[in-house]
Symmetry: C2
Subunit: 354 residues, 2 copies
Amino acid sequence: MYQNPPGPRRAGPTGGRRVTLHDVAREAGVSYATASRAIHPGSRKVNEGARDRVLAAAGKLNYTPNFPARAVAHGSTMAVALVVSDVADPYFSSLAAGARRAADDAGLSLTMAVSGGDPEREVELVRKLRGQRPRAIVVAGSRLTDCPHRDALAEELRLFEGAGGRAVLISQPDLPFPTISLANGESGQRLTTALAGRGYRRLAVIRGPDKLRTSRDRADGLVRGAAADGIVLAKRDVIEAPFTRDGGYQAALSLVERGLGGIDAVVAVSDVMAVGAMSALRDSGLAPGRDLGVAGFDDIPMAVDVMPMLTTVAAPLVEMGARAVRLALGDRAGSQTETVATEVVIRDSTPRRP
Amino acid sequence: MYQNPPGPRRAGPTGGRRVTLHDVAREAGVSYATASRAIHPGSRKVNEGARDRVLAAAGKLNYTPNFPARAVAHGSTMAVALVVSDVADPYFSSLAAGARRAADDAGLSLTMAVSGGDPEREVELVRKLRGQRPRAIVVAGSRLTDCPHRDALAEELRLFEGAGGRAVLISQPDLPFPTISLANGESGQRLTTALAGRGYRRLAVIRGPDKLRTSRDRADGLVRGAAADGIVLAKRDVIEAPFTRDGGYQAALSLVERGLGGIDAVVAVSDVMAVGAMSALRDSGLAPGRDLGVAGFDDIPMAVDVMPMLTTVAAPLVEMGARAVRLALGDRAGSQTETVATEVVIRDSTPRRP
DNA sequence: TTGAAAGCGTTACCAA
DNA sequence: TTGGTAACGCTTTCAA
C-alpha cells in the first residue's frame, strides 16, 4: 500500500495541487487500473459506461497524463530528439520543420538540441539525450570526418540503440546507422554540367571546412564535374571558410580582394554561404548574376527572395527531415539508407553567357 | 522489497539492456542511495572516495541518468517548452535560438511545439505540454484577439501554473502572465516618423490578420504615426494577408494590380512579409527601393541579404527568446512584463526621396 | 556520511 | 472486463 495513498495531493513547487490518475479514478468511481485503461488509447478492454465516466472525470478535474511517469512505467517516452547545428539556419530549420511534422503524425513530440557546430558538444548532446530516453535520435549536420568525435558519436548512438532507441543520421552516410542521404557529389557534378551548358568557363568554389562531410562531398563533386565538363577550376580558387552566411561573405570578399582573374562564376557549397557571397560581391561593387554567376546548394526558401534569384541544387529539406523521423520510427525492414533526389534549379544568378 | 531487485536487467524493445543506478551502485560497491547522491550534482554529502568510485563505475558502464524517472521522483523535469507558429520562419527560429541558449545555460533542454498558426492547435499543444511537466512553457505567436481561444489558452496556462509550472508569453501582452513585450505600436509610429523624414508622403501597409495581436499593434502604430507625421495612409491601402512571406507577396501583388495611386512606400508588419512583398514588386517589374520604398519589422538576419537591404524596426529576437526563458526560470520578484527596446534601422530599401 | 525503504504517477500482469 | 498490485528507475526522508 505504498502507492497513491488517498488524501490531499502533494503541493507543487508553487503550491499547486497535482491531479493524478488516482483522483480521476476516485471521481469516476472505478478502480485505478480501470481508469488507466480508459485513458490509455490502446486498450479497448473497458466498459463503455465506465470509460465515459472516467473521461468525464478527467475532463472535470483537468487531468493530464503525466508523461514522465508513463515513460518510467512503460519504459519508453513519446518523444523524438533532433540534433542540429543551428536552429536559426534555414537549412536546419527546414529539416526541423519536416521532422516536427513527421513526429506529430506519429503522435510524438520533438525535442531539439543544438550543437552550434561543435562536434564535441554534439557528442555530449547525444549523451544527454540518451538520458531522456527518446524513441529516436536524429542527428543532422555532424562533422563525420573528424575521427575521434566521429567514433565517440558512433559509440553514443550505438549505446542508445543498445538500450532500445533508434538512431538516424541526415546527410552523413558513413556511420553505421540508417541515413537520409543526399547525392552530394553527383549533385555537384550536375551543377557544373548545367553551368558549362550556360557558357561558364572558369569557376571559383566557396566551401566549408574539410571535416564537414556535406561540404567536402559537394566540393569534390564540383571539382570532378569541372574537370569532366571542361571548366577551369584552379586549386587556389577553392576557398575554405566557415559553413555559414558570414563564412560565405568573407570567402567572396577575399576572392575579390585577391583579384578574380577570369573567374566567371562562383559556386558555394550551400545557399546560406552563397547568399553571404552575393552580399559580399555587392558590397565590393560587383553585381551578382551580371558580373559573376553565383550558385549554391539546398534551395532554402530565401533563394527566391534574394536578387538575383539564386541558382541552386534543390534538396527537399522538409521532406528529408520528415523521412528521417519516419525511418527512425518504422520497422527495420528495407534499406537502411535512403538517398533523396536533388535537382539543379537554374535561376537568374547564372544567366546564359555569350 | 518491491524495488530494483537485483538480477538481469529487463530487455529493451530491441533487446538491449538498460544500465540503471542499481548496476552502478553494485559496480561501485556502495548503496543505491549513495550512488544517487554521488551522481546528483546538488548534494555534496558524499565521501570523496565513494563518489569517485561511483563516477568511475558510471563511466565504465556508460550509465546515463534516466530523466523521466528522475522527473517522477523529483516531481519536476529538466525541460522548457517553447510553442511557436513555424520553426522555419526566421522570426520564430531566432526566438528559438535564444530560448535554446538560455535553457542551455540553466542546464535544461528545450522541447519545441509548433502550432502552424492555428489557435485551436495551440491550445491543444499547451495541454499536451502540460502532461510533459516542463519547468516552464513559453508561448510565442498566439492570436490573443481571438477570444474563445484566448480564454482557453489562458485557462491551460493557468492550470499549468497551478501545478507548479511557469508560463511566459512573447509579444502578447494582454494575458495575465509574465510577458516579453515589444513596443509594437510605438515602433510603428517611430517608423513612420523616420519615413516622413526621408520624404515619403503616401504609404501602403501590408498587415497580417487582425486577430494577430502583433500584427494589429504594429498596423495601428503605423496608422497613428502616419496621421501624426502628415503621411497619407488611406484605409484601402491597408492590405490584410496571411502573416507569411507568401502573404506579403500576394498583398503586394494585389496592390500593384489595383494601381499604386501615388503610394511611395509600402510597409509590411514583418520582415518576412516585406521580403515577400519585395519579390512581388520585382516580379511586377518594379524596383523596390527605387520605384517604391519598402520597410518591415523585426530585422531578421536575411534583411541585409535582400536587395536592396531592408529598412526595418529591429527587435532583438534572439535576446527576447533568451529573456523569456530567463523570466520563466527566475524568481517571481520584479516586474512581470519586460518590454524590450526596438530601433528603426534605415537601409537602402527606403532611400531619401526628393 | 551512509543504508533502508517510502514514495513519485504511471503501466501491465495476474487472478478473479 | 475488472481490481489488486508489482514494477519502472529514481529522489529523499529517516534512522542509524
